[in-house]
């Protein structure tokens, strides 16, 4: 059984083109920034970003680069040229990758996109230092931006980084708690995923000196899209097609992750929720039939329906914010397409 939040094919072509264009614009500036790093951090960062392989040969490229694309769109949406957004785009991508480097180490993940992670290849200390260097470099690039509003953009990035860390610290704390509520879990997701998407979607407008009403609308758009994206990601972590997600079937249940739909079902799902909570408290490698039974409990406890509805609600809040702010029409249409592309995934 698959479901979807909308007809994503309508927006897929626009979003794919926006992401491709964003990568084309940002990659040279990002490469120039990474070239400034110390020798060890530069080698590790270039590998992590997918630009080189371990033997020094050219890499197959990195991720989708959603955050840089949002930063560029937020500059043009505010009426500035695309170049105005470039330092913001470089900075948010550096912060994103700083957090991935440290996350992979903290989570003990040996692979990312089917490649060995930096901490496995070069050791924990290298992953810590390379991440630290990328975070500092993000501020450096932003503060050099030829904009009268560079300091405001840098302040936004610093506050955002702390929000990101708050989300990660809460995620860590939740692992050893069995009483996490839905509001807490949403606040954690807001920190881990919403905050940097909010900064990405508004930093270009901040650099452009846009009025507060516009930067706030773009910030809301990014925050709501980010939280909706996390909700859908959590649904895909249970019901996603392994061929699409690249993760094993039922992967989040396999690791007994207290994701958003699971947390909702436990707190609001009556007997199904209590049974789910009891199963999560068990230990050892779960059998396949247990995983399927647990997924049925999440659905029976209302977790699947709630997460899908909440993702739709937040996507619509994002669309409402960005379409009512007097932003330039073409980039606004592209932001709309991107929101659908990121949220309306099949699960």
């Amino acid at each position: 059984m698959t479901a979807t939040l909308g007809r994503s094919s309508d927006h897929r072509d626009v979003a794919t083109e926006v992401l491709r264009r964003g990568r084309d614009v940002v990659t040279p500036a990002l490469q120039a920034a990474v070239d400034r790093l110390d020798d060890a951090s530069r080698t590790q960062a270039r590998y992590h970003l997918g630009w080189t392989e371990l033997d020094g040969s050219p890499g197959a490229g990195g991720g989708k680069a959603v955050r840089p694309a949002l930063a560029l769109l937020s500059a043009t949406a505010a009426g500035a040229d695309v170049d105005t957004g470039v330092p913001g785009a470089v900075a948010v991508e550096l912060v994103h990758n700083f957090s991935l480097l440290h996350d992979d180490l903290m989570d003990g993940d040996a692979e990312r996109r089917h490649r060995t992670t930096v901490w496995v290849q070069w050791g924990a200390s290298s992953a810590i230092l390379c991440g630290d260097a990328m975070l500092a470099l993000a501020q450096e690039v932003l503060l050099e931006a030829p904009s009268a509003h560079a300091a405001a953009a840098a302040a936004l990035l610093a506050v955002t980084t702390r929000e990101l860390i708050r989300g990660q610290a809460e995620d860590l704390a939740f692992e050893t708690r069995d009483d996490v509520g839905v509001a807490e879990c949403l606040s954690m997701a807001s920190g881990k995923t919403g905050s940097l998407l909010a900064a990405s979607a508004s930093i270009g407008a901040v650099l452009a000196g846009a009025p507060a009403a516009q930067t706030e609308a773009l910030h809301t758009y990014g925050h709501e899209v980010g939280t909706a994206f996390q909700l859908v990601d959590d649904l895909l972590g249970i019901w996603g097609d392994p061929a699409v997600t690249g993760k094993p079937v039922l992967s989040d249940l396999r690791s007994r992750k207290k994701s958003l739909p699971v947390t909702f079902a436990i707190r609001n799902g009556g007997e199904a929720g209590r049974e789910l909570a009891r199963w999560l408290a068990t230990e050892g490698e779960p059998a396949e039939d247990e995983l399927h039974a647990a997924a049925r409990l999440v659905a029976a406890g209302g977790g699947r329906e709630w997460a899908a509805a909440e993702a739709r609600r937040r996507r619509d809040l994002a669309l409402g914010a960005v379409t009512g702010a007097g932003l330039a029409p073409v980039p606004t249409g592209e932001l709309v397409a991107l929101a659908h592309h990121l949220v309306d995934r099949e699960f």
Copy 2:
């Protein structure tokens, strides 16, 4: 046998008073900044800074706070009031402690100032996240400074942080190399110790909008004092009195650290240097008499004399920079006293 670079008692009282005054001014602002951290990071940071003990009771206080004192002096040396330097003082102390948190984890140090380190108490992930949060907070505090030059100060801090990380990455790389040269080793020390002292000694003047000649003189002062301090620290790591240093006798030789005097002796010390290099390449727990023999080889290879002379030379460069820049006389005198206090230690 003890030696000294000068009569430190002449300056000790002034320096002690400057450090005490600095702590009094900066601590409330630093506490207000740390209060903004997420719950977990705040608890860990307050413990790390010596403000609370593990049971929540008041702590015995933290380190000397040299960096904040320099930041405040650099504002007043440039003719501004002390308040102008406070956001800079808070920021450099946060960056210093970010690096200590990550260093303790990377080095596997279980204790700092006779207290359990954060990574031992709360786990590696917490030490990573708390350090990350302090680094982001440093930029945040600085960018909120009521100064037209806050962005310039933030840019200085970002570049400095990358220098600090370069030094740490090189230090890490040197552990597995046996061909490290003196210039490389000095460059590593310049990154690890010189860069943040240089930023500390100039950030207040930057916030005050001082002319470039003054901020550069203060930057040179901090950089040279920092490198001299590291040279003396390395001498104390071999010949320091355990009652003063708080470390075991001959501690740097015990861990076979390729410190500056050791590196000089290996590269320039003829037969004594070659014998020292052979000993460093051996493995296993060294006997006490081996350590004393190794210390004699460092001295015979000229490492002790060179490091002491180089520390004096750099201290004098620092003094020359800061006394010739037309800075306010009283803070300049205090910077002179602080340079002597930090460098003229008995070894």
